[in-house]
Amino acid sequence: MSHLRCENVTVCFGGVVACDNINLEVPEGKIIGLIGPNGAGKTTLFNVLNRFQEYETGHTYYREQNVDNKKPHEMIDLGMARTFQNLNLFSEQSTLDNILIGAHRLIGNAFANMFSLPGARRNEAALVDKAVAIADMLQLSGELDNPVKNLSYGYRKRVELARALAAEPEIILLDEPVAGCNEEATRELVDIVRHVNRNLGVTFLVVEHDMSMVMKVCDYIYVINFGANLADGTPAEVRADADVIAAYLGEATQ
């Protein structure tokens, strides 16, 4: 069953066509890759999918429900969380607080919260426990009270993933999760993504430039170039696709 789907989506910035009739389908419970050369429109497509970006034509569907008119904060209520390519953390705040904001949709009644009523305090304590457990899973528990600005780049990427997980999502959009990470950190992240996918049934859509990571972790891959669909298939198919090789390495000239 399709978890997330977009149909003929077109986005223009002035005269530049960032997305040109893009089609994409993410099946339930799979890890889907989205690759393409720089400027291909991957992040724009992410912004379309979590509704930061308006589009001229086309439709997006979440579990076959049309979400064209949803706002970003409504997408997370449906079950979609995301991370950002250039990190969007609350850098002055602690790791724990950063993770907790991800659980915003689970805070319950705002007024009970504001006055710290007993029910809200119990709920808050439960959210903190969950945040600590997520931090444990991502090996962040040593940094819980550290402001995020003090963390290394790789750790900050993990905090973003932890924040996304705190929302208890059903699908997570990862925008370049291992960019700037060394081999070991990349391997750990792959393990975490696999773990969450296998054991919790969370669907993933991953934008990534690290091809070995994409090929290893993804069940299916979409390739876009100049804002348009170029190819799609299993990692083996995509790797062998002549168009994809040409897009990445350039056309062989005679």
């Binding site: 997370i76 950002f84 904001i101 915003h104 808050e124 899973m137 208890e168 773990h195 919790l200």
Partner: protein, 357 residues
């Protein structure tokens, strides 16, 4: 499905977390002890030997300014929105309480609640307009609001313009109160509001405010409804300033457009929030004290008071942009951070040894 934390990994607090949690609980107890001590001092202040009658009025003014600045700090400090128009809410609070007292005989405590509620109601309506404006445009919009409110109070007959509305002496539960009685009402209001602000900024709602302040995009993608939460912040902020406004009018039994018709209150409140430090719970206490005391010392030289406020504002912005409170808190925070680091270090050693054996 989807319940990541509970189904994947049971919450298993490590040694590190236990040590740090205990230390943090201890810090919180210290904070509470300090706050309680502070309010006890405020309560016994009138009984101190050197206190004279006029001090009750001046002390009440300080408390009122602190409250009004707390209202501003919810917006500027915790939600990241600039307001140059909170004098408007102060005026709305003052006139609401005054009119209700004049025409319905409402007394101080219901009057101050009514002042807060009216300010919050108008704040909510305005929020829906202003919060669509960004950054400097919002500042200009709120400034326009302050001018607008001023001219309403100057010209609409029921507010009696510069003649003003004179009020009967204040009563609490039917008993007439003097300046010291009024001071206690102010301190009670300050205690309740401080408790509320404390609860608010530590709750999920306060977290959402801070998230909107630090990164709108991340906040929204985490499910924070930007317009709803900003309107909420605007209303709460207006409520608190409205309560302060009601007390500000009732303390002199008189409100007039002479006082509330221009924007000086708005400027004063912003100065109080910025100088004190608006992202800290106790920042407005310093700011409110400063703004209330400057005109007191320079009663004869009114213009000099303005100059001094301006100079101090600029000095704070250059030397300590997070406010005086942050500078004072800095050594304490560093000390606590050292204790936390130590707890973390020793807990990790113990854990590593536990794992080895």
């Amino acid at each position: 499905m989807g319940d990541v934390a509970t189904s994947a990994v049971a919450a298993r607090p490590t040694r590190y977390n236990r040590a740090v949690t205990a230390l943090k609980a201890q810090f919180e107890r210290q904070n509470w002890a300090l706050a309680v001590l502070f309010f006890v001092v405020l309560l016994i202040f009138p009984a101190l030997p050197f206190v004279e009658g006029w001090m009750a009025y001046q002390a009440s003014l300080i408390v009122i300014y602190i409250m009004a600045a707390q209202g501003v700090s919810i917006l500027t400090g915790f939600t990241g929105l600039v307001t140059v128009g909170h004098g408007g809410f102060l005026a709305i609070g003052a006139y609401t309480a005054a009119l209700l007292m004049k025409y319905t005989g409402l007394s101080v405590i219901p009057g101050m609640i009514a002042g807060g509620v009216m300010a919050a109601f108008i704040g909510c309506l305005l929020g829906l307009i202003f919060l669509r404006l960004a950054g400097a445009f919002m500042a200009i919009g709120t400034l326009g609001f302050a001018f607008f409110i001023g001219s309403i109070f100057n010209n609409v007959p029921i507010f009696e313009g510069r003649t003003g509305i004179s009020l009967p002496p204040n009563t609490v539960f039917g008993v007439e109160i003097d300046d010291f009685g009024f001071y206690y009402v102010c301190v009670l209001a300050l205690a309740l509001i401080t408790l509320f602000v404390y609860s608010l900024i530590r709750s999920g709602v306060g977290r959402a405010f801070k998230a909107l302040r630090d990164s709108e995009k991340a906040a929204e993608s985490s499910g924070v409804n930007r317009l709803l939460y900003r309107t909420l912040a605007f209303s709460i902020s207006a409520f608190i300033t409205g309560v302060a406004g009601a007390l500000n009018g009732l303390i002199v039994n008189y409100v007039s457009a002479e006082v509330y018709g221009d924007i000086w209150y708005s400027v004063d409140l912003l100065v109080a929030a910025v100088v004190g430090g608006s992202a800290l719970l106790f920042g407005p206490f310093f700011g409110g004290f400063f703004v209330a005391m400057v005109p007191f010392y320079f009663e004869e030289l009114r213009d000099f008071a303005f100059i001094l406020k301006g100079v101090v504002l600029i000095a704070v912005l250059v030397l300590a942009p997070a406010g005086v409170a942050e500078v004072i808190a800095r050594p304490f925070r560093a000390w606590r951070r050292r204790l936390l680091d130590k707890a973390r270090g020793s807990a990790q050693t113990v854990e590593a040894e536990g794992a080895r054996s």
